[in-house]
Symmetry: C2
Subunit: 264 residues, 2 copies
């Protein structure tokens, strides 16, 4: 363990820079924060390269275990002032602990369509909280992966990682343009199902087939018509009120649980 003093220290600056997408992309590194999330990571075999905590924090056996693992793996354990930690995490929590991980998304070609009866797909999803929530749902339904199509929010942002509740470490995550994804999908078995309002079936009565790829679109615009028309099946959930759509992460979950009940 080493101690760093001063707010302008290069390591403090580096850690803080990882809150910014541009720097994450360049470094191919991301932050996960909080003892619970870091313990989830550890239990799934993901050890941070760097672990940062504040001096004067309370001792905790899970934190001790984390420190031992990082040091055994040759990683960097850093103690900073509470002021510097606040600067890194953006929060006034002296118990905060933050870890730096290498990004590890999966090439589309390594998504295994035999691994599970269903997979989740998000197109142009812009809200990192929704994206993290979809990862969490993907874990819960035992999905074989989440594919992010077109320009989605960054799944390695602090907000998405937090909302995933550790699923960022367990769910295979691929990123692709639509043409690339669609071409890959059609190379093998796979039913592409869109949550859609266009000529669609009631989601409780539709015929699902494994491996089933459940796709939702952008929070405001939904899926492009061309994409919906390329799907094998379009389904809708009943909308009994005034609005014509659900929150995208909610729609994905309701549909995924239906598919799981039928194919799982």
């Amino acid at each position: 363990m080493r101690r760093i003093t001063g707010l302008s220290n290069p390591t403090v600056k580096y850690l803080r820079s990882l809150r910014d997408k541009k720097h994450r992309r360049r470094e191919r590194r991301f932050l996960a924060e909080g003892l619970r999330l870091l313990t989830d990571a550890r239990e799934t075999g993901h050890c941070p390269e760097t672990l940062v905590m504040a001096e004067g924090r309370e001792a905790h056996p899970l934190l001790d275990a984390l420190v031992a693992d990082v040091e055994a793996a040759g990683g960097d354990v850093i103690e900073v002032s509470q002021e510097a930690l606040s600067k890194i995490t953006g929060k006034d929590n002296p118990q905060a602990v933050s870890g730096v991980f290498a990004e590890f998304d999966t090439p589309l070609s390594r998504i295994d369509r035999d691994a599970a009866p269903l997979f989740l797909v998000a197109q142009a999803m812009r809200d990192p909280g929704n994206l993290g929530t979809m990862l969490r749902t993907a874990d819960a339904v035992g999905a074989g992966g989440l594919v992010l199509v077109d320009d989605c929010a960054d799944p390695f942002s602090v907000e998405a990682v937090r909302a995933s509740m550790g699923a960022i470490f367990t769910v295979p995550l691929a990123q692709a343009r639509w043409d690339e994804f669609h071409a890959w999908l059609r190379e093998g078995p796979g039913q592409l199902v869109a949550a859609s309002l266009r000529e669609s079936h009631d989601y409780r009565a539709a015929a699902y087939a494994a491996p089933c790829f459940v796709m939702v679109g952008n929070e405001s615009r939904g899926l492009p018509e061309e994409y919906e028309m390329a799907c094998d099946l379009r389904v809708h959930m009943p909308m009994k009120g005034r609005a014509d759509s659900l929150n995208a992460a909610v729609a994905s979950a309701v549909l995924s649980y239906e598919v799981l009940a039928r194919l799982g």
Copy 2:
């Protein structure tokens, strides 16, 4: 329409203060932002007392209709500088428009248990985005209302109102302490169903009965054991992955759509 100049104008300060819960509570007023949300409000008969927009914005027929309605109702239509609007809304969007509404939550005694087969209940839900998403889901499943039990996030916060996508204006919303809610529930028919890991039934096989009150708990702690034990039915969704819970708004939606399919 009147024009206000200067950032220290009392009206600008008042509008800005409504982003803060303490001031909202005192004034019993809240903000809804964006032309779409304000049009939703208008279409459901909710007219803002005050409407604020920036000078130099583009004209829009829906905005004109809104202005006419507010003026006809004797409300205040205010034009401010783009700088002042940014100060009020916290955003750099010159097309932004913001409305001030009187709060209108429903006393528990006015929730009509004959109005719908299901109702949603959230206990100690702390995230305003989750709370707004639950309102949106409540609208979608045609719920008779959403009851907020114990200390929840403020449903009239800008974040919750935005996430509700207009459902804040359409879904009856009651707030109560647990003892009060539980006493009211037992005065009449009503099945209380908790999403729970304790001695619970598979949610697809459970026997639901209308009016069914679907309850989820706090994001971190879930429901207190005492509350779960006071329920008529405890159900769980399959959890195929590492985690043992879903996002609270997602859990509520998956369960509500199941109940709707069975009782709707």
